[in-house]
C-alpha cells in the first residue's frame, strides 16, 4: 500500500478501536436495559404475592403525588402500597415508564422519598431505620422501576425480575 506509514495505521486502529468499544458499550447497556412488554397487572401481582403486605395500604394518584411528588398521568402505570401507620416503614412502588428517559426522574423521586423516611425515623425508630437502610431495594429494569422497603425485599426483587 502506497505510503501507508505506521502512524497512519496507528491512528486508524485507534479511531476504529474507540468506535467499536463505544458500540460494544451501547450494546451491553441496551441489553441490560430491555423494555418489557409484561403488563403491570402481572408484574404487580407477582411482586405483591412474594411479600406480606399486611402493614401497608393501597395507594392512589394523590398518595403517589404526595409521597413522591410525581404525577401518575406522566407514566404508563403506577402500583403503590404505603405504610398504614406512620410508625411503619414498609413500602412498595412499581412504576411502568412511558419513556425510558423518565428513569432518572423516578430514581430521584425514590431517593428523595427514602431520604425523607430515614430522616423521620433517625434517632427514635431503630427498627424502621434499619429496615430503610438494610432492607430496601431500588431496581431499574428498562421501562419498569421497583422500590421496596421490606424485610423480604430480595424476594420481591427476584419476583419482579422474573415477571418482566
Amino acid at each position: 500500500m502506497k505510503n501507508l506509514t505506521s502512524k497512519n495505521i496507528i491512528f486508524g486502529v485507534l479511531r476504529w478501536g474507540i468506535f467499536l468499544a463505544f458500540v460494544v458499550v451501547l450494546i451491553v447497556f441496551a441489553s441490560q436495559n430491555k423494555i418489557s412488554k409484561a403488563p403491570m397487572k402481572e408484574v404487580s401481582s407477582a411482586v405483591s404475592k412474594s411479600i406480606d403486605l399486611k402493614k401497608m395500604q393501597k395507594g392512589n394518584d394523590s398518595s403517589f403525588k404526595r409521597l413522591y411528588g410525581l404525577d401518575s398521568a406522566e407514566f404508563e402505570s403506577v402500583f403503590l402500597y404505603w405504610p398504614k401507620s406512620n410508625m411503619d416503614a414498609e413500602e412498595l412502588l412499581i412504576v411502568q415508564l412511558k419513556e425510558i428517559d423518565q428513569q432518572q426522574q423516578v430514581k430521584d423521586a425514590i431517593e428523595a422519598r427514602l431520604a425523607t423516611q430515614k430522616k423521620s425515623f433517625d434517632g427514635y425508630g431503630v427498627e424502621q431505620y434499619a429496615l430503610l437502610t438494610d432492607s430496601s431495594v431500588v431496581d431499574v429494569q428498562g421501562n419498569y422501576i421497583l422500590f421496596v422497603v421490606h424485610k423480604d425485599c430480595s424476594k420481591a426483587d427476584a419476583a419482579f425480575r422474573e415477571a418482566l
Binding site: 502506497k2 505510503n3 506509514t5 502512524k7 497512519n8 491512528f11 486508524g12 485507534l14 479511531r15 474507540i18 468506535f19 468499544a21 463505544f22 458499550v25 451501547l26 450494546i27 451491553v28 447497556f29 441496551a30 441489553s31 441490560q32 436495559n33 430491555k34 423494555i35 412488554k37 419513556e99 425510558i100 428517559d101 428513569q103 432518572q104 428498562g142 421501562n143
Partner: protein, 460 residues
C-alpha cells in the same frame, strides 16, 4: 444542570467564575475543561462516556486525515473524512431518530443503553465542523485539550450557539477577561435569564392552557399561537443570551444568535435573524458545498430544499418538524424565484406583518405533537372545529403580557440603551446596574417559587 436552575445561578456559576479569575493563566484552559465536565456530569454522568468516545474518535480521525493529506493521498484523506462524518451522524441518528424509524414501522420504542447525551445535536455539528475545517485545511489539528474544550465548553454544549471549529480557534487566540467583558457578560446573562423566567415562563402559562384544552375558540387558538411565537423567541434567545454572556465572563466572545427576527421583511430575512448560528452552519457546510446559488435557479432551489429538509429533521424526530422545514423552504424558494419582486413594491411594515404571520403559522407545525394535531389547531385558528368559551378570559388576562412581549421583540429598547451608553451619561450607569440587580432578584424569586421548566431547545 440548566442555566435557569438555582444550583447553577447561585452555586456553580459564581464558584466557577471566581476560581477562573484567581487561578494562573496557564491553568485556565484545563480548569475550564474541568468545570465543563462537572457541568455535564451533574446532569447525567453517562454523557461523559459518549463525549469521550466521540472526542477521541474524531481527534484520531483528524490526525489520520491530516497525515494522508500531508503524504499527498487525497483519496485516502477523503475516505477518512467521509467515514468520520458517517460515524458522527450514525451516533446522532441512533440516539435521536432510531425510535422514530421504529415507530414508522409500528415497532415499540427501544432502550438506547445510555440516556440521550446532552446537546447531542449541537455536539455533532461541532464535530462535523471540526472534521470539515481540518479537511479543507482551514485549521490544523489542534492540541488535544483545545479540541476537548471546543466540544465540551459548557456555555455552548447544551443548545449552542453553534460555533464553527475555525471560529472557536480564533476565540482561543483572543481570550480576554477585561472588566468591560465581564460587565457585558453579566448584563447579557441577566437579560437572557429575564427573557426566560419573566417572559417565556409566563407566556408558557397561556400557551399550555390553550394547547392542552380539549376544545378552543378561534380567538383562543390565535392567542395560543401568538403566545408560543413569543415564548419560543424569548426562551431560545434568552438561552442564547445567557450562553453568550457566560462565554464573555470566561473571556470567550461567541457570535450573536438572534437579531430581532420578528422584524424580518421576508422569510429569507427571518432566517438571517433567527438562530443565526444554525443558518451559518448549514450555509457553510451544506448549501455552499452543494453549489449555493452559483449553478442556476433550479439548482439553487434544490440546494434550499436540502438545507430546509435537514433543518426540519435536525429539530426532531417527527414529521411535524419535516413539514415545518419544508414550509419554510416553499416560502424561501418562492421569494428567490418571484415573490420578492412582487413584495418589494409593498410597504415594509406590511411585509413585516405578513412575514410574522407566515412564521407564526409555521410554529403550529413546530409545537404540535403530530400532523393531525397541527391541522386541527390550524382549523381552530380559522374557525373550524372550534368550541369552548375562554377566549375573552385569556385575552384580558394576557393582553398586557403579549403587548410587552411584542414591544420587547422589537429593537426599540436596545437602541435606546445603546444610545444612552454611547453618550456616556455617567449618572446612567448606577441606575442601569440597579435595574439589572432588581431584574436578577426577580428572576431568582421566580426560580424559587416556580416549578423548574427546561429550555425548549434543550429537547433538540
Amino acid at each position: 444542570m440548566a442555566f435557569n436552575q438555582l444550583i447553577f445561578v447561585c452555586l456553580f456559576l459564581p464558584i466557577s467564575a471566581l476560581l477562573y479569575r484567581v487561578i494562573p493563566q496557564k491553568a485556565k484552559k484545563g480548569y475550564l475543561i474541568f468545570a465543563s465536565l462537572v457541568f455535564i456530569a451533574w446532569g447525567n454522568i453517562s454523557d461523559l462516556i459518549y463525549l469521550f468516545a466521540v472526542i477521541l474518535f474524531n481527534f484520531f480521525t483528524a490526525k489520520q486525515m491530516q497525515r494522508f493529506k500531508n503524504d499527498g493521498q487525497a483519496k485516502a484523506a477523503r475516505f477518512v473524512l467521509i467515514s468520520g462524518l458517517a460515524a458522527d451522524i450514525a451516533f446522532l441518528a441512533y440516539f435521536k431518530y432510531f425510535n422514530f424509524f421504529r415507530s414508522i414501522f409500528g415497532l415499540s420504542k427501544a432502550s438506547f443503553g445510555l440516556a440521550v447525551p446532552i446537546g447531542i445535536s449541537f455536539v455533532t455539528f461541532s464535530l462535523i465542523s471540526f472534521l470539515c475545517d481540518v479537511y479543507r485545511e482551514k485549521e490544523d489539528v489542534p492540541r488535544f485539550f483545545d479540541f476537548v474544550l471546543y466540544i465540551t465548553f459548557f456555555p455552548k454544549i447544551t443548545s449552542g450557539p453553534i460555533v464553527s471549529y475555525n471560529e472557536f480557534m480564533r476565540m482561543l487566540e483572543n481570550v480576554s477577561i477585561t472588566r468591560q467583558n465581564v460587565n457585558l457578560g453579566i448584563e447579557q446573562f441577566i437579560t437572557g435569564l429575564a427573557k426566560k423566567m419573566l417572559l417565556a415562563g409566563n407566556l408558557s402559562i397561556l400557551f399550555t392552557a390553550i394547547s392542552t384544552a380539549g376544545q378552543r375558540t378561534a380567538l383562543e387558538a390565535w392567542l395560543g399561537a401568538l403566545g408560543y411565537t413569543f415564548m419560543l423567541y424569548f426562551d431560545f434567545s434568552g438561552y442564547s443570551d445567557m450562553a453568550i454572556g457566560l462565554g464573555k465572563l470566561f473571556g470567550y466572545t461567541m457570535p450573536q444568535n438572534f437579531d430581532h427576527p420578528y422584524t424580518a421583511v421576508n422569510i429569507g430575512d427571518f432566517w438571517r435573524k433567527w438562530h443565526i448560528s444554525l443558518g451559518a452552519f448549514f450555509k457553510n457546510y451544506v448549501y455552499i458545498p452543494l453549489g449555493g446559488n452559483r449553478k442556476g435557479d433550479k439548482r439553487t432551489v434544490f440546494n434550499l430544499f436540502v438545507v430546509f429538509l435537514l433543518t426540519g429533521i435536525w429539530h426532531g424526530a417527527n414529521f411535524t418538524f419535516i413539514v415545518w422545514g419544508l414550509y419554510h423552504f416553499v416560502f424561501n424558494a418562492a421569494e428567490r424565484l418571484f415573490l420578492d419582486k412582487v413584495m418589494n413594491k409593498v410597504p415594509k411594515i406590511v411585509r413585516r406583518c405578513l412575514t410574522f404571520f407566515v412564521v407564526m403559522i409555521g410554529w403550529v407545525f413546530f409545537f404540535s405533537d403530530s400532523l393531525k394535531d397541527a391541522f386541527v389547531y390550524l382549523g381552530n385558528m380559522f374557525g373550524i372545529g372550534t368550541g369552548g368559551s375562554a377566549g375573552g378570559y385569556y385575552l384580558f388576562s394576557f393582553i398586557i403580557l403579549l403587548l410587552i412581549a411584542a414591544f420587547l421583540s422589537l429593537p426599540v429598547l436596545r437602541n435606546v440603551i445603546n444610545n444612552i451608553k454611547r453618550q456616556k451619561y455617567t449618572h446612567y450607569f448606577p441606575v442601569h446596574a440597579i435595574i439589572m440587580v432588581v431584574i436578577f432578584l426577580l428572576c431568582v424569586a421566580c426560580m424559587v417559587s416556580d416549578t423548574y421548566t427546561s429550555f425548549l431547545y434543550a429537547a433538540f
